[in-house]
Symmetry: D2
Subunit: 163 residues, 4 copies
Amino acid sequence: MSIRIFVTGGTFDKEYNEITGELYFQDSHLPEMLKLGRNLVPVDIRTLMMIDSLEMTELDRELIADHCMNADEDKIIITHGTDTMAETARVLAKKTLNKTIVLTGAMIPYKFGSSDGLFNLGSAFAFVQTLSPGVYVAMNGRYFDATNVRKNKETGVFEELAD
Amino acid sequence: MSIRIFVTGGTFDKEYNEITGELYFQDSHLPEMLKLGRNLVPVDIRTLMMIDSLEMTELDRELIADHCMNADEDKIIITHGTDTMAETARVLAKKTLNKTIVLTGAMIPYKFGSSDGLFNLGSAFAFVQTLSPGVYVAMNGRYFDATNVRKNKETGVFEELAD
Amino acid sequence: MSIRIFVTGGTFDKEYNEITGELYFQDSHLPEMLKLGRNLVPVDIRTLMMIDSLEMTELDRELIADHCMNADEDKIIITHGTDTMAETARVLAKKTLNKTIVLTGAMIPYKFGSSDGLFNLGSAFAFVQTLSPGVYVAMNGRYFDATNVRKNKETGVFEELAD
Amino acid sequence: MSIRIFVTGGTFDKEYNEITGELYFQDSHLPEMLKLGRNLVPVDIRTLMMIDSLEMTELDRELIADHCMNADEDKIIITHGTDTMAETARVLAKKTLNKTIVLTGAMIPYKFGSSDGLFNLGSAFAFVQTLSPGVYVAMNGRYFDATNVRKNKETGVFEELAD
C-alpha cells in the first residue's frame, strides 16, 4: 500500500531567511522528516505549491482536488497551512472521491526545534491507513471530518463546529 | 474518549549521564513530547517501570497485562523498548482483552535531537483511536498485528514473520 | 571576575508566534543558553530593550552607553541585532570607557535548532575576558575593532572596512 | 591567521548506535559544528584518534604532542574527552612549544540537542586567538592554565587545583 503526499506549503515548511530576517518557503522538509521518523511506508511526494494557506485561492484548491482525483493511490496526505486547512478540506469533501484524504500541518515550523510537525505527520500516516474513505483534518493527535471542523483563530486549535 | 498510556522505559526515555558518560533512565519524556506535539486527546499517563526491554521479565509482562486489564480505558498505548516489544505484544494478545492496545517505541532516544520517537508517538495516537480491538506494534509509520511481527535484529526494523 | 550582559534583542531572541505566524520578541534566551553552555563565569544579565536592531534609535544607543558607563563591571557583553551592531559599537567606542565591551548576536534565532547563537556567545565570553579595554564585535568566530567593522548586507557577514 | 584543530574524540563526538543501543564514535562533528556556528576563521581539522579519554595512553599523548610541535600553525585547538583533559594538558605544557594550545570538550554529546559543545567550541576559538603562548583548558566559559586545573569527578566541573 503506497501513500501519495501532496505538499502545499504552510507553517510546516517555513524557513528563516538570515539575510532579510523573514520567514520564507524554500524546499519541503517532508523527505527529511520521513527519514527522521524512519518511515517505511512507501510514499510518493509531490509538491503542488509552496504558499502560506492565507494566500491559497479557489483555483489552487481545484488544482489540489484534481491531483487527488487523478492520483493512482487511494490514500492521500496533504500538508497544508493551518489557517485555511478546513476550507480546503471542505472543497475536497464535496468531490466525493472515494479516497481517504488526510490534511495535516503544524503550528510551529519544522526547522524550529520545537515543532509539532513530526507528531502530526506520524498521526496523519496512521489515520490515512486506517480511516474509511473521506476527507479528514489531523491535528493535535485528533482527527476531524472535513464537514465538521474549523480552526479557532484565537487559540490556534482545531475544533468541531459549534452546534 | 480518553487514552491510557503505560510507560515501561526503552530507548524512548534514555538520557545521558554527564558524570559517568553512560545512558540511563530518569523520568519519562512522554509529557514533554505530548506538549511538543500539542496533543489535545485526553490522556492518563502511568509509569509502570523504567527499564531496557532486554531486562524485562515474564513477571514484568504479567504486570503490564494486569494494568491493561484493570484500566478503565479501552484504548491503551504502551511505550516500550524495541528489543522485546514483539514478545510483550504476544503476551498481551493471548489475554484477549477486547481493548485496542498499541505498543510503540523509538530507535533513538528522544533527548537526541534526531529521534524517531515523536513520529512514532503520533502514529500510535492515531492507530489506537482507529484500529479495532487487538494488540498492535506501531513503528516506522506502520502497524503490525501482535501475532505477526518481529524485530529484525540486524536492520533494527520491524517486519512480518517470515512465512 | 564578573561579567555584565546587556540584552537588547536582535535575531538571538526572536520567537515564532504560532497564532499570527510572525516572529516576535518575548523573553531573552540568554539564561537558557548559559545554562546549556554550562557557563560558570559569574554574570549579571540585564535586559535594556527587546527590539530589532533596525529599529534602534540614537537615544537607544545613548541608553546602552549610559548603562555601560554606570556598570560596576569592566567586562561587558551586549547581545544585539546584527543589522546595526557596527553602528552601536562605534557609538560606544567614542565614549572611551576603559572597559572591554563585546557585542555579539546571531544570524538565526536561538529557538531554531540551527542557530549560530551559542557558538557566538561562547566566543564573546572568551573575548571579553581576554581582550584589552575597547569595543569589539564578535561574530563568526572572529572579533573586530569597533572602528573597523561593518556588516556586508548581501552576504550577512561581518568584515573589516574596505581600505 | 589559521587555526589547527586536532580531534581526539571524547563526549563531543559520541553517537548513539541504534542497533546496539550503545554510544560509539564514528566521524567527528567538528565540521558540522563550525558550519552551524558560521565560523569564518580559516581552520585545518585533523583527526588523530577517536577515543574515550579514559582509554588514552601516554603514547597517545606523545602523539598529540608531536602533532602540536610539527604543526605549521601556532594556534591549536584540541577536542578531547573531559575525564583526562587535564592530564593531556600537563603533558603538552611540559613540552614548552611556544604555541597557544587550547583543549576543550563537552559534557553532553553534540548529537544530543542539549550539548554544551557549541558554547565551548566558540570560547575555544576566541581563547586560542587571544591568549599568549601556553597550554589551556577551556570549559564552562572559563579558561585554566594547564598547570593549574583538574576535573572534579563528582561535579563534572573543571576547577583550579586546591592550594
